[in-house]
């Protein structure tokens, strides 16, 4: 029994433990800081180990309490462990960034505990193999992210009342979607008599092959589209996102846009391609058209924004549409393209939000009309924003180009001509709104000093610039040397489309 076999539970238990320890240590900011950063670093190392373990040794199943399929199981397959690596690396970098960005008092009183809890919620929802447990981890995610959105940044650019308003919208909509998820889970349990996802999958496919699949399974699947669509902010359910992501402090915006909305995409991949495989023939076109609507609404709204973080938030809405487009294609290459897109967007968008934090700190406002000519006073931020904007817009040497190219290539080879035409048209919109922001903020004349005051003179600290540089290097590497990511994504997609691997790994467990 080495530590390697216990990795799945460690990934969930340590952050939960840490959040309690952090509350106890709130009078000792120095210890808290060292502990938070070292634990977060340790978790990202562990997640890489877990991914390597899954890559070489197949799907890892950890039975909590050794109750076999009747208890809660943690399952690490390629999708889960890949998402774990992504989230723990992004959250490590966001944590380093927030050491210098969040107000000191708010940092030690509530920020560290809630951030640990957020990591526990993320790791748990990626690892769990029990559908009710997924609901519980979603709620942990929701409540801790609400607390983090309210956290105060230094300088106080965002008014407290704005944060309250945004959090209220976020919380009410997500509570409603939590009720829908609870309804769906209860109906699924009443239909199949089990909560284990692999077991549900076996029973539903058995019912389907004997022709006794009840009609309400389709209604349950639709409820899950509502739940995950709300988490990922796809078209009819996206209205909370452009309010919440800009008002949050920048490292939390990076977490929300980079990682949290991807939980919706993960849930879609897990639940639909494992449990509801027999209903996909109805829902694939639905997902594709919702994704197209999301792309259109997000891109057209982003064009008119004057607030830099609001623009980035609408851009997130638009980009998550591309991820869902790939999921909707539903073939190995479609899902692989969606995963590549997901990773590239997570990295580039976290980097852009972190950069926007530096820009806001420099300019003292979020309004792009009150900026201008910042390429002279903040050359580092402008270079980093250019890198991120090029990646999101899909320009060649960077990661976003590989992602968009692969997605469109799949769409054309599978004869989705109309869908790809629309996606391509709005990819040009992406280019337009990203470079419009670039022009407004960094080029042109310096703003009217007598009216808006001068830019802040003190430069960026190394704690703020380091995470941005690391993410920028990742963006460039995924663009120039994309083969490892693509082959990992293809293997993952292959595993997602053959639920038998997952079922075989989970169902061997016996009650002891």
């Amino acid at each position: 029994m080495s530590i390697i076999t216990h990795l799945p539970i460690i990934m969930v238990a340590i952050p939960i433990l840490m959040s309690a320890v952090m509350v106890l240590l709130r009078k000792e900011p120095g210890i808290q800081k060292v502990l938070a950063v070292s634990v977060s670093f340790l978790l990202s190392i562990f997640s890489v180990f877990l991914l390597l373990q899954v890559w070489s040794g197949g799907i890892q199943v950890y039975e909590v309490g050794e109750w076999g399929k009747y208890g809660i199981v943690l399952v690490a397959d390629l999708l889960s462990s890949g998402m774990l690596v992504l989230t723990s690396c992004v959250s490590f970098l966001a944590l380093i960034y927030s050491l210098d960005y969040i107000e000191k008092r708010s940092l030690s009183a509530s920020y560290y505990p809630l951030f640990s809890l957020l990591m526990a919620g993320l790791n748990g929802s990626f690892l769990t193999g029990d559908i009710f447990n997924l609901f519980v981890f979603f709620e942990i995610l929701l409540l801790s992210s609400c607390g983090l959105v309210i956290a105060n940044e230094q300088g106080g650019v965002t008014k407290s009342s704005d944060k309250m308003e945004a959090t209220f919208k976020y919380l009410v909509l997500n509570m409603l979607s939590a009720f829908v998820m609870l309804l769906a889970v209860a109906s699924l349990y009443a239909t199949t008599g089990t909560l284990n996802m692999a077991d549900i999958s076996v029973r539903l496919s058995e019912m389907s092959s004997s022709g006794t699949l009840p009609w309400h399974v389709f209604a349950i699947a639709l409820m899950f589209i509502v739940v995950f669509g709300n988490k990922a902010a796809i078209f009819p359910l996206h209205y909370w996102l452009p309010d919440v992501h800009p008002t949050a402090p920048s490292p939390i915006s990076a977490m929300l846009s980079g990682v949290l909305i991807k939980v919706g995409a993960y849930g879609m991949l897990r639940v639909f391609f494992l449990i509801f495989t027999d209903t996909l023939y109805i829902f694939k076109p639905l997902i594709i058209y919702l994704a197209l609507a999301t792309i259109i609404v997000g891109a057209t709204s982003a064009v008119a924004q004057t607030d830099v973080k609001r623009l980035l938030a609408y851009s997130s809405v638009s980009q998550i549409g591309y991820v869902f487009l790939g999921i909707g294609f539903g073939s190995v290459y479609g899902i692989a393209a969606a995963l590549v897109y997901l990773v590239n967007h997570a990295i580039a968008k976290s980097m852009l939000f972190l950069t926007s934090g530096g820009i806001i700190h420099h300019a003292g406002t979020r309004d792009m009309r009150k900026m201008g000519g910042m390429v002279d006073s903040a050359p580092f931020m402008s270079l980093m924003f250019l890198t991120g904007a090029m990646s999101i817009a899909g320009l060649p040497p960077l990661g976003g180009f590989i992602a968009k190219f692969q997605l469109f290539d799949v769409g054309i080879s599978e004869k989705y001509y109309f869908e790809i035409a629309i996606a391509l048209l709005f990819a040009i919109f992406t280019l337009f709104y990203m470079f419009r922001a670039m022009l407004l903020m960094f080029w042109g004349e310096k703003r009217d000093v007598s009216e808006y005051g001068d830019y802040s003179t003190h430069g960026t600290s190394s704690l703020i610039s380091l995470p941005i540089i690391v993410l920028a290097i990742a963006v460039v590497i995924f663009g120039i040397y994309a083969e490892p990511l693509i082959s990992l994504a293809t293997a993952t997609a292959d595993q997602i489309l053959n639920p038998q691997y997952y079922i075989d790994a989970v169902m061997t467990g016996v009650v002891r």
């Binding site: 309250m164 308003e165 199949t192 076996v202």
Partner: protein, 142 residues
């Protein structure tokens, strides 16, 4: 008869909850969310009470009561359409599924935390905006 009344109660609770969530007053919205969560909880509990051939409670002697002890099947046999654990043909038992009650307990605790948080948030919104009218909360132009 009892099942009909229970279903009717759940339906009415859903109706009241939805009506209250659509009000303009923040406090009424929160009460609506509470009513909705109770409706969902009742629905979950109601899925656990039925009579049939399924047997989720396992006691030490392998059954869930003296008479059913020997007639439970614990192994899945998909080719025969058996999803374990079930009773053998010819046996029937009335029972209440304990798992759904555990689920409801978890859901109640979660909704307690959510309600506490959202009530504090509503109080802060009242402090900041001086009103509990949801139509006044449009400073973000959402």
């Amino acid at each position: 008869m009892n099942n009909t009344l229970l279903s009717l109660t759940i339906a009415i609770l859903f109706g009241i909850g939805t009506f209250l969530v659509l009000r303009r007053d923040i406090v009424r919205m929160i009460i609506g969310l509470g009513v909705l969560s109770h409706a969902v909880n009742l629905l979950i509990v109601s899925t656990g009470a039925f009579s049939g051939t399924k047997a989720p409670i396992i006691t030490d002697n392998g059954g869930h009561g003296l008479s059913e002890a020997s007639s439970s099947v614990f192994a899945d046999s998909l080719s025969d359409g058996i999803f374990a654990p079930v009773l053998e043909a010819g046996h029937q038992v009335d029972f209440v599924d304990p798992l759904v009650q555990a689920l409801v307990l978890t859901a109640i605790v979660i909704s307690l935390a959510m309600t506490a948080f959202i009530l504090i948030l509503a109080y802060r919104i009242y402090e900041e905006y001086g009103t509990t009218d949801i139509k006044e909360l449009r400073r973000l132009r959402g």
